[in-house]
């Protein structure tokens, strides 16, 4: 049975479940309700099968690898290889897909008779299918095809809500950026092909010694730009805060929780698996990129008041944290410390899994709020905890997890990342050591700022009093939404408590890579779920949880029942110096973050502009209305993308000269091109 699942046919069943889901949704597109159920059923069945398949494979002894069909093209082989690393990513993808699909059944009801549900189902299934192919492909060209399926289909998901012009714009930016990135990836694979003579990953890996080091470095830069754009590292992130919020919420959860991780997967696959050994500066470079992405990601998140854009910026931050783990892993490996290197990889992969769970939880809860209020601006929320108590609880759990508060899962992966960096600080020699110090500092500040950002997000959205009619009239979401959020919230706690199990599982994933095949990891997990990093640090999740819960219950019961209990509890108005308190006096999201924005004004470049309209333009004594616009300047747009855009426009302007409209000139061009080609071939 076990062997039957962890086999070629097991994987084909997985793919076909999603393929049937896609085709069926298309066929049923005339009936929204039927298409929705078909879509939900196959997505859930497929994800459950995927979870089973990946779990079996994670515990299996060997990888599944096969070529699907004899290829008609010489360089393209449709071949798969599913080792433990792929299986781990299949697990992450299908786990999140499961809950997003359950959520989707209830969520997409509000699209009935507005947009085609069948089309949504088609794209949703193809999207998941694309991601599954990306993490299992074993050939460069086949991989590129899968990558394109994933990218193009997700573009259609981004512009699904097409009546909003902003979404179309965000989708277009996404399409442009993702294809520029693909161009870099194509170039990287072409370089690898030129020197190893094959697109097959195994062939590239065995021929890696043939690649000169300059070319290897070029591949590194190309891969960072190409896959980094998909992962959303700064400064290639500009599509992300627009595209993720535009998609329907359960798709945003998938994009933010899972799709950007495929970029991480390929970085691990190429750097740690295919191109080993690598020079030290690659790892240190990744650490720098990770530090910048995590710090700037959280700072930009603080300036946002659109709840989904805020979450999107946090994805950038968390990708930065994952890169810190991966960067330390690469650096240790180049320095000949495989045991510490495995610690870094475990931290990165654990954070990948954790970020997928709590980020999708947050996106789903944000979607549930948006579904009820129909606004995305946090300034218009407030007091939702009274109308949507369960959504509020789930969002609180997600906030605590993403802020790395124990005993939720985010804490344990950040703890491991910190440990990897600490080991670098304490063991390495001068120059590498200071990069690790900077990275640890960046992570420390990121943690503090993320906490501030989620106090803001939760407080402004759910606490105090409603600041708009929509927030006042919101109700709790339907069952399927609450079920999906509740299950994910439970998972964030469970992954925290069973951090020992998961760590040892990921240790095995690491050992499956050939560089770590006989490495004992620096982090070891014990059966009682406690973790130990060398003899440096230890932590035990269940004991921690037990202490916290026990202390809470003891305090609660003592105060409630043992201390003098004959007192009255009355409710009254909140006191505010004797004025009538209105919701307009509450702190807003902008106000909350303003002091941090002011402190980091060198980076964020906050702007303020005043405009006053006077009752009488001549005398200017009595103002009729005042407007203050607070803004944050987007540095990348003004310093990187605007100049690039200008150069591109200027070059196009020049190129226009060639196009004279004269047919004789065109014939001359063709002739010259032909001559040059002939000369080159000769």
């Amino acid at each position: 049975m076990i062997n039957a699942i962890a086999s070629q046919s097991g994987f084909l069943v997985l793919l076909s479940l999603f393929a049937v889901g896609a085709a069926g949704s298309l066929l049923l597109r005339r009936n929204d309700r039927l298409a929705n159920y078909w879509n939900g059923f196959f997505a859930i069945a497929g994800s459950l099968w995927g979870i089973l398949f990946s779990l079996v494979l994670l515990n299996a002894t060997r990888a599944v690898s096969f070529a699907a069909a004899p290829s008609i093209f010489p360089l393209l082989s449709i071949s798969f290889k599913i080792d433990k690393l792929s299986a781990f990513f299949i697990f992450v993808i299908t786990l999140i897909t499961l809950f997003c699909s359950i959520y989707g059944i209830g969520y997409i009801r509000h699209f009935y008779n507005k947009y085609s549900i069948g089309a949504l189902g088609l794209f949703y299934h193809l999207f998941v299918l694309g991601m599954l192919l990306v993490v299992t492909a074993d050939n460069g060209l086949f991989f590129l095809i899968a990558w394109e399926i994933m990218s193009v289909v997700s573009y259609f998901l981004v512009i699904y809500d097409r009546n909003d012009e902003k979404n179309i714009k965000a989708g277009f930016l996404y399409l442009v950026m993702t294809h520029i990135a693909t161009a870099f990836i194509v170039f990287a694979f072409l370089l690898l092909y030129k020197f190893t003579g094959s697109f097959d990953f195994d062939a590239i890996k065995s021929g890696v010694s043939l690649i000169p080091s300059a070319v290897k470095n070029a591949v590194f830069v190309l891969a960072i730009i190409g896959f980094g754009t998909k992962a959303g590292i700064i400064p290639f992130h500009i599509w992300l805060p627009g595209a993720h919020p535009a998609a329907p919420s359960h798709v945003s959860a998938l994009m933010s929780g899972v799709m950007i991780k495929t970029g991480i997967y390929m970085l691990i696959r190429i750097f740690l698996d295919m191109l080993q050994p690598v020079p030290l500066w690659w790892g240190l470079g990744l650490l720098v990129i990770g530090s910048v992405s995590s710090l700037l990601g959280v700072l930009y998140a603080l300036t946002e008041h659109d709840i989904k854009r805020l979450l999107a910026y946090h994805s950038i931050e968390n990708i930065g944290i994952i890169l810190l783990g991966l960067g330390s892993s690469l650096s240790f490996l180049s320095l000949g410390m495989p045991s510490l290197s495995l610690l870094g990889l475990v931290a990165a992969l654990f954070h990948t899994l954790n970020h997928a769970t709590f980020k999708s939880l947050l996106f789903l809860s944000a979607g549930s709020v948006i579904n009820e209020t129909h606004i995305r601006n946090m300034e218009k929320y407030g007091g939702l905890i009274k109308n949507m108590p369960q959504t509020a609880l789930f969002f609180l759990v997600g906030s605590m997890a993403i802020s790395a508060l124990p005993p939720f899962n985010g804490f344990f992966s950040e703890w491991l990342t910190f440990q990897a960096l600490f080991q670098g600080v304490s063991t390495l020699a001068v120059s590498a050591k200071w990069v690790f110090v900077a990275a640890a500092g960046a992570l420390a500040f990121t943690g503090g700022l993320a906490l501030a950002c989620f106090v803001k997000a939760f407080g402004v959205t759910f606490l105090a009093r409603p600041r708009s009619g929509e927030a006042q009239e919101a109700g709790e979401s339907s069952f399927s939404l609450r079920f999906a959020m509740g299950a994910l919230a439970a998972l964030t706690l469970l992954f925290g408590i069973f951090s020992g199990h998961i760590t040892s599982l990921i240790n095995r994933v690491g050992n499956d890579l050939s560089v770590f095949s006989c490495t004992t990891s620096f982090v070891s997990a014990f059966p009682d779920q406690s973790l130990a990093v060398g003899s440096f640090s230890t932590v035990s999740a269940p004991v921690l949880l037990a202490f916290l819960v026990a202390a809470f219950i003891v305090v609660l019961l003592t105060i409630k029942y043992l201390v003098y209990k004959n007192q009255k509890v009355t409710t009254g108005l909140t006191w505010d110096c004797g004025t009538d308190l209105t919701p307009r006096m509450e702190i807003t999201a902008t106000g909350f973050a303003r002091s941090i924005v002011t402190i980091f004004k060198a980076v964020l470049k906050p702007g303020i502009s005043n405009a006053t309209e006077y009752l009488d333009e001549e005398s200017r004594y009595v103002p009729q209305s005042r407007t203050v616009i607070l803004s944050v300047k987007d540095m990348y747009k003004s310093y990187l993308y605007k100049p690039l855009d200008k150069i591109a426009a200027a070059m196009s302007e020049r190129a226009k000269g060639i196009q004279s409209g004269n047919i004789n000139a065109y014939i001359l061009y063709i002739l010259t091109a032909l001559l040059i080609a002939l000369l080159l071939v000769k």
Binding site: V425, F445, S535, V539, L556, I587, F592, S595
Partner: protein, 296 residues
């Protein structure tokens, strides 16, 4: 531990009163205040949700767990489950998280601004706090707090300067995290500059008692971290009656020095303007970076 913490507040107030030529209340006054508050009726805001109602219990419970997880009298008996430095720091972050949420929950203008300021400061203090303990962890080759206080005592000869620098960084964070001068004024109850007091403005009765008590606990936690990690003299290293008997007065004396210095700072320093505080916290961080650089 929670039994001792209000005494610390009383001692600080007494010393401050003496320095201001007042007689001041007795050092046991905070106990009487807590007793009184626990017996008072309570008024809750109409807008308060369960976050506001449960936050005092959560915060107090977390300070209990943290207090039980740090070395107080003895550096042996390492607690490997919850005494990691990052666990302690992030558990204290739970307190900050719920305190700030409770401040926002009642919808008053004071509470929101208090939360905003508190989160700004604690976000910037995090770097200094983690790095000061990291310096000690690297010197003593373990990040377990019991392990640190065990190892630091023999590390003075080699790394006196890093320990001293790390301590200066830690002390700045201590003042910030426990809402003391020059970061916050614990004696004000209605000023536009208040931070901690602004968040707990709407509390009364039992819940106010818990909040006050929890912040006294937090002060004691930070003072004992400072006393026992940076200056672990007189701590019991083994199960020996004499050593334990010595450790109690040693701990008391060290705490007294801490409280006295806080009181002196509060008496001869003005509160800083809010936007000067980040400089202080960044200085704390940079001191610690130097400390790490100086470790041999």
């Amino acid at each position: 531990m929670p039994a001792l913490s209000p005494l610390g507040i009383g001692v600080i107030r007494k010393i401050k009163a003496k320095l201001q030529n007042r007689r001041g209340a007795g050092i046991f006054q905070p106990y009487k205040d807590l007793w009184k508050l626990l017996h008072k009726d309570e008024i809750l805001s109409n807008d308060a949700s369960w976050i506001f109602k449960f936050a005092p219990f959560v915060i107090f419970a977390v300070t209990l767990v943290v207090g039980a997880s740090i070395p107080l009298l003895a550096s042996f008996l390492p607690n490997t489950a919850t005494s990691d430095m990052l666990v302690i720091i992030y558990m204290l972050a739970i307190c900050t998280f719920f305190l700030a949420l409770a401040g926002m929950d009642i919808g008053s203008a004071f509470g929101g601004f208090g939360s905003s300021r508190e989160m700004t400061l604690s976000a910037l203090a995090e770097g200094g706090l983690i790095f000061s303990l990291l310096t000690l962890a690297i010197i003593s080759r373990t990040s377990n707090l019991f392990g640190i206080s065990h190892a630091i005592i023999s590390a003075y000869g080699n790394s006196f300067l890093p320990i001293l620098l790390a301590f200066s960084g830690f002390f700045i964070v201590l003042l910030a995290e426990t809402a003391r001068f020059p970061f916050d004024n614990p004696a004000t109850h209605l000023e536009l500059t208040m931070i901690h007091e602004a968040m707990i403005l709407e509390y009364s009765g039992k819940r106010l008692a818990l909040m006050e008590w929890a912040s006294a606990n937090k002060l004691l936690i930070f003072a004992s971290l400072g006393a026992n990690l940076f200056f672990p003299w007189g701590m019991a290293n083994g199960l020996d009656i004499n050593a334990i008997l010595i450790s109690v007065p040693a701990f008391a004396v060290k705490l007294l020095v801490f409280y006295a210095s806080i009181a002196v700072i509060e008496s001869c320093m003005a509160k800083y303007r809010f936007f000067r505080l980040p400089n202080l916290l960044i200085i704390s961080f940079i001191l610690n970076v130097f400390a790490i650089g100086l470790i041999k």
